[in-house]
Symmetry: C2
Subunit: 201 residues, 2 copies
């Protein structure tokens, strides 16, 4: 009986429609402008329908980000990085930042929005991507290139620095930067300085 399968396919189809319509709004206009009613309008269903596929608005956006962050995980693929452990870390930081700048709204929702109701699932690609950082720091340490022993702490330090640069650049438009416009290579500088700060001698 392929009927239930067809039903499931149809259900999957509208879930897709919802996600794609929401992503369109989310990418161009941000979280606040993604309203259940606008998403519903876009797919020509009633707002209530969305609640048959997603628990609430946060659940919808979470699912949307889950998909997009899968692309981050791909972009951080260690296989595409150079051999030298330090140069690898550098490319990792740049790839991470590149994703964030290309998907600022997703990035904000994943890494900048406090959650009490719906914490991120631990196996979300956003979380997993930290695992990649961690592993690459461990490699650099194994190669004797890092000054410290605490791999987790060093990985978090690197993450914090790149995260900070990304946040500044995505929050302020250049003319809104305090005092002076952002250095055009602020991201690269931050990646470089934070890695250099962890190097042995």
């Amino acid at each position: 009986m392929g009927i239930t399968e067809r039903r499931e396919r149809e259900k999957e189809e509208i879930r897709r429609k919802i996600l794609d319509a929401a992503r369109e709004l989310f990418m161009t206009e941000g979280y606040d402008k993604v309203t259940m009613r606008r998403v519903a309008d876009a797919i020509e269903y009633s707002p209530t329908t969305i609640y048959h596929h997603f628990e609430d608005k946060d659940d919808l956006v979470e699912a949307l980000c889950h998909e997009d962050f899968a692309k981050l995980l791909q972009a951080l693929d260690p296989a595409q990085m150079p051999a030298d452990p330090i140069e690898r870390l550098r490319q990792l930081g740049l790839a991470y930042a590149r994703f964030a700048l290309q998907n600022p709204n997703q990035y904000r929702f994943m890494f900048l929005t406090p959650r009490e109701e719906h914490p991120h699932p631990e196996d979300s690609p956003g979380y997993q991507s930290f695992g990649v950082v961690r592993q690459m720091v461990a490699d650099a340490k194994a190669a004797g290139r890092l000054r410290d022993d605490d791999v987790d702490a060093m990985a978090q330090t690197l993450w914090a620095c790149v995260h900070g640069a990304v946040c500044l650049v995505t929050t302020f438009r250049p003319e809104q930067f305090p005092c002076v416009p952002p250095a055009p290579d602020l991201i690269e500088r931050t990646v470089d300085a934070s890695i250099r700060g962890l190097l042995k001698e």
Copy 2:
């Protein structure tokens, strides 16, 4: 005619009441929970009254943060810092982070909330505090301790790194941190690594 002066004093008084009531809500419950109606209830006026003192909700919160960030500027007072330019930078970063952790909601609103309608005034204490960083980096460079010449870029790099650590710590609760809980000294580590990354030799 002290009448107009009394009027102005009274106007100032209720402005104070609004700000204090809003701050109470803002500090303990965050931006979303500061509603015009709750603020109005707290001071026993109608919601509309607030609009005679502030343009809109963002204007109110902006004024509130303006006051609080004056305290940041005090906390960054160079006179209270040690003599050695690098040690000064370190203490500056720690003081900055301390303020952010003590006033997370204000910090978010000032440095993490994109603005189109009401950009920060350029003379706001939040902006001015970047000037302090800039000056201290300039001093360190004048002392020949930094590897680079671009003072603005270096100041922004340091800012970005500390900002990132602060954002992580204030966004995620410890048990929500990806993979591993945050290193207890993540802030210090980030300050140290980022400064070390800018040092000469």
